[in-house]
């Protein structure tokens, strides 16, 4: 089963950023400009993350990546990083949860 969705579509609301707020109608412009992180989940074994800005933490059970809107967190078991290149990587393993940056809620920070 292929279950693909974009981070921008999944996020309930945009994270407030200083001096920057795009109207919803212009989100595709931000997406096309590559400023918006995109996560593509294929089943529960693979997660493609594009446009991230860095690897904050990496272990067998947790991967934290920095994005333009804040850190995102992937938890599971036996996680590995594949095809790691600047701004993109694939997280493989048994993925249990993907937590995306939420401007209104708690950021998926450490712990």
């Amino acid at each position: 089963m292929r279950n693909a969705r974009s981070a921008s579509a999944m996020a309930p609301a945009r994270r407030p950023r200083r001096g920057h707020r795009s109207p919803p109608a212009l989100e595709w412009v931000e997406d096309a400009a590559g400023r918006c992180a995109r996560a593509t989940v294929v089943g529960s074994r693979s997660l493609l993350v594009e446009n991230h800005t860095g690897i904050l933490e990496f272990s067998d059970e947790r991967v934290r990546l920095d994005t333009a809107r804040g850190p995102m967190r992937v938890t599971g078991n036996g996680l590995t990083l594949q095809d790691v290149r600047p701004g993109a990587l694939i997280v493989r393993g048994s993925i249990a949860r993907v937590e995306l940056p939420c401007p209104g809620g708690d950021a998926p920070d450490e712990g």
Binding site: G54, I55, L56, E57, F58, S59, T80, Q82, P86
Partner: protein, 390 residues
């Protein structure tokens, strides 16, 4: 992206190291966490170099666990840089070895193969420039012609190249039979005693017929022919006179034998023996026929050379016992045939056919004699020169 390198990195913040390497342009096939402080990174050669340089710069412990693909092959060949050189030298040596002739053989065949002289043939080949170590591009036809011309009397010479071996095959010429000169007058005489079985004269006058007994030196074929009604002229006699001849051998043995039997009478003598003298202790009686046994009995041990020599004599009586005649015949028969064969080998002709052989036994007095006879047939006609030469 190929995972040719597998690198283990151990540091406190490996994520930072990955970020640094990614900024430098590295790409990683796979990143696994092995422990709290170590990462296993699979990447291509260029990325591995970037990662290792970053580790070196920040004094991070990094170790290449495995190498695969082209870089591994390159490293393997780099470590074995002498292998191509060795292979090249080996190939060159093989080419040098296989490109030359190292073995030269001479074989002979045909009816007169035993007349072939291998050394002479090889010397002739050597004179033609053929020796071990020359290149294989030898003109075999020229070699065959050179050997035919200079190696002796051969009806065929062939040279064949098989690998590093040059085989020269030659067929020696069959020697021509002696020329029959009809004008060289000669007679044919018998070279042995015998009974004529058949007589054939191809030239000359036959003097004997089948059933005649001939003696050694007797004229068999006279070398003359009728020139006119009154005159004869000498010619070389030619023909065959097959005679039967016998060669006998003998062997004899006594039909009785003496068997010693102890009578029971015996005597003993003892003497004290030292290295310097002998002192008789008791004297024993001696017998005409006796069997004596001597015993040496040490007296003083190892360091005193003193011993008693005791001689025991037993009186013997001899009985005359007849031998087994059949066993005696079985022993005598091969001895007699061996004697006859020795006489045949010493006096017989060069070519003969054994027609029969038998053995007779005769007893005279105490002895049994075996007389073996070998009957042969052979051509007895020889020239007088050949007769005197024998």
């Amino acid at each position: 992206m190929r995972g040719e390198f597998t690198v283990r990195v151990e540091c406190l913040m490996p994520e930072k190291l990955l970020e640094r390497a990614l900024e430098k342009g590295a790409r990683f096939c796979e990143v696994r966490r092995e422990g709290a402080r170590s990462l296993i990174v699979a990447c291509d050669a260029a990325s591995a170099e970037i990662l290792l340089n970053a580790c070196d710069r920040f004094h991070i412990d990094a170790r290449v666990l495995s190498r695969r693909g082209r870089s591994a092959l390159k490293g393997y060949l780099k470590k074995r840089a002498t292998l191509p050189v060795g292979l090249s030298v080996f190939a060159a040596l093989c080419w040098l070895f296989l490109g030359r002739i190292w073995l030269i053989d001479a074989t002979f065949s045909g009816e007169a193969a035993s007349l072939g002289d291998a050394n002479a043939l090889l010397q002739a080949a050597n004179a033609a420039g053929i020796h071990a170590g020359i290149p294989r591009d030898v003109d075999l036809n020229a070699l065959e012609q050179a050997l035919m011309a200079g190696a002796g009397d051969y009806s065929y010479v062939g040279a064949h190249l098989r690998g590093v071996r040059l085989r020269i095959e030659a067929v020696p010429e069959v020697p021509a039979p002696p020329v029959y000169d009809v004008a060289a007058a000669r007679d044919l005489v018998a070279d042995r005693d015998g009974i004529v079985l058949s007589a054939t004269a191809r030239s000359g006058a036959l003097c004997v017929g089948p059933g005649d007994a001939v003696r050694r030196g007797q004229l068999l074929i006279r070398g003359e022919e009728q020139a006119t009604k009154e005159e004869t002229r000498p010619i070389a006699a030619l023909g065959e006179v097959i005679v039967r001849a016998w060669f006998a051998g003998e062997a004899s043995m006594a039909v009785t034998e003496r068997v010693a039997r102890p009578t029971g009478v015996q005597s003993a003598a003892a003497s004290l023996v030292t290295p310097w003298f002998r002192l008789p202790i008791t004297e024993g009686e001696s017998f005409a026929d006796e069997a004596a046994t001597t015993e040496l009995l040490p007296v003083g041990g190892l360091f005193v050379p003193l011993a008693i020599e005791r001689v025991t004599r037993r009186q013997l009586a001899f009985d005359v016992v007849s031998r087994d005649i059949e066993a005696l015949r079985a022993r005598l028969s091969p001895l007699a045939f061996a004697d006859a064969a020795a006489r045949l080998a010493a006096e017989g002709p060069g070519e003969y056919e054994i027609r029969s052989r038998w053995v007779d036994f005769a007893r005279s007095g105490d002895r049994l004699t075996a007389r073996a006879v070998i009957e042969i047939s052979a051509d007895a006609a020889v020239t007088r020169e050949e007769l005197y030469r024998h």
